[in-house]
Amino acid sequence: MERPLTKNIRPGQPPLDLKEYERAGGYQSVKKCLKEFQPKEVTKIVQDSNLKGRGGAGFNTGMKWSFVPMNGDIKQKYLVANADEMEPGTFKDRILLEGDPHLLIEGMIVSAYAMQASTGYIFIRGEYTEAAEILRKALSEAYNAGYLGKNILRSGFTFDLHIHTSVGRYMCGEETGLLNSLEGKRAIPRVKPPFPQVSGLFGKPTIVNNVETLCNVPHIINNGPVWFKNLSRTDDGGTKLYGVSGKVKKPGAWELPMGTTIREILEEHAGGMMDGVKFKGVLPGGASTDFLVEEHLDVKMDFTNLMKAGSRLGTGTMIVLDDKTCPVGFVHNMERFFAQESCGWCTPCREGLPWVEKILRTIDSGDGTLEDIDLLLFHTKYLGPGNTFCALAPGAMEPLQSALKYFMDDFKRHITQRGCPWRH
């Protein structure tokens, strides 16, 4: 099967340099676009391919681009790659950034051409020190070869690309929080509308795309939207970099057709559960997704099917809960993360998440009461979508509400047995 995203990645070895990358077919899509396509045509190709945002939101990428105003009087537009991967359980963008930096750069040049952006930023989290080094080297190679800068390949198109390493805050992964951070401010979210496509970075039209999303673009241009759709097993186009962490025999990441089932990823690629533990549940797309259990193992992992099953594809990197790990502790750890990372802007998130963390801590330590369960359910309702300024708190409620749905007995046991049954 074809693995466009990872075909150049050689584990344990440095990534391809520019010459090797070109020999492997790299930067062909840039030449093709600049010679053969108008910007709007590029957007249409990407839209037709049904590439959906790989950062978790799953919005059609080409459609997102189409909202950028394309009349000639707007001179400054921005393209930003969101490489601030911090969602617990997620490790896919690191693999692409460290493994094939030129793929991201190529994807960004094509995407910038489609929206006619003249400046781009790669917003990478500060902890990805190796990836930042690798990207800096690749950027300098791309500039020297004339793929970046003024008048790229004598086409008249100019695109300058900078790297910004962030200094640590989950909210920088939120599109508008990222823009505020790039502007040198606190990473609090902005109200939408206006959407960044119209008024984004420094008030100019801006597109923020996830790293994995951008890495798909060169291949879509080279091979066409039909090829991309055919890589998938469902209607959502392309391949997906899936991952598994937790107590499985072979945790890791694999590029597979979009729509591969949970069971296939867990059993065939991750080797199934470690000896001595059994599968209890899984968060299919990182910490901000709802738990799925045994009955869902044959669900196809794409945007539509996971939503039907009551969860979300999110980042596509799974966190597995086994039967010897305490579900209350598991959820408590995540809610502690969300409470800490709340930016503090809006009341329900700033006040509600620490409250939820405290209740879970009390239940886990054996001092909880049954009323605490009602309080948790109350929060899952009032911190839900629409009630907060951004999606952090609603995301935090997804594992909690599904844990209360599927593992209520375990929560109650902590209360009636006045302690954690798993602690020995």
Binding site: M86, G184, N333
Partner: protein, 154 residues
């Protein structure tokens, strides 16, 4: 007072943005790189070159996990305490640090060699538990080999 080197580095970053204030985070990183942490004086120095108020700079400095507004040790250990590392046993690694180095999260060893801080998901969950010391990532951690890792950081 910003050193000449700090000034030069900040001015390089100013070229990447259309407004001075946008380089605030870069400036904080530069000062922290040279001084190991950002003191009130560091905040004032940055405010001056970026034409912001010290309060504006501080509101940014105190927001981010990796900008230190208190003195830190020679080496910073960032131990991931997110859910995959929790499942795979980061608490055992923390216990080892408590016993061996005598410090827990937020503390510095008495000889000033190490500061231990928690960090959210390092993005290497298939090799959990994981930590960073300064710019180096260490993963698939086992308590038996931790001391060998620490040895490298004098």
């Amino acid at each position: 007072m910003l050193s000449d080197q700090e000034k030069t580095e900040i001015e390089e970053h100013l070229k990447e943005y259309p407004y001075k204030q946008a380089a605030c985070i870069e400036a904080l990183k530069v000062v922290q790189k040279h001084r190991r942490w950002v003191s009130d004086e560091g905040v004032k120095d940055i405010a001056e070159i970026l034409e912001m108020t010290p309060h504006e700079v501080d509101s940014v400095a105190t927001f981010y996990n990796l900008i230190y507004r208190k003195p830190v040790g020679k080496h910073i250990i960032l131990l991931c305490d997110s859910v995959s590392c929790w499942v795979m046993g980061y608490e055992k690694i923390l216990d080892h640090f408590k016993n061996k180095l005598g410090i827990s999260f937020g503390q510095t060893t008495s000889d000033g060699r190490f500061t231990l801080l928690p960090v959210p998901c390092l993005g290497t969950c298939d090799h959990a538990p994981a930590l960073m010391i300064d710019n180096d990532l260490h993963r698939d951690l086992k308590t038996e080999t931790l001391d060998n890792i620490l040895e490298k950081y004098k």
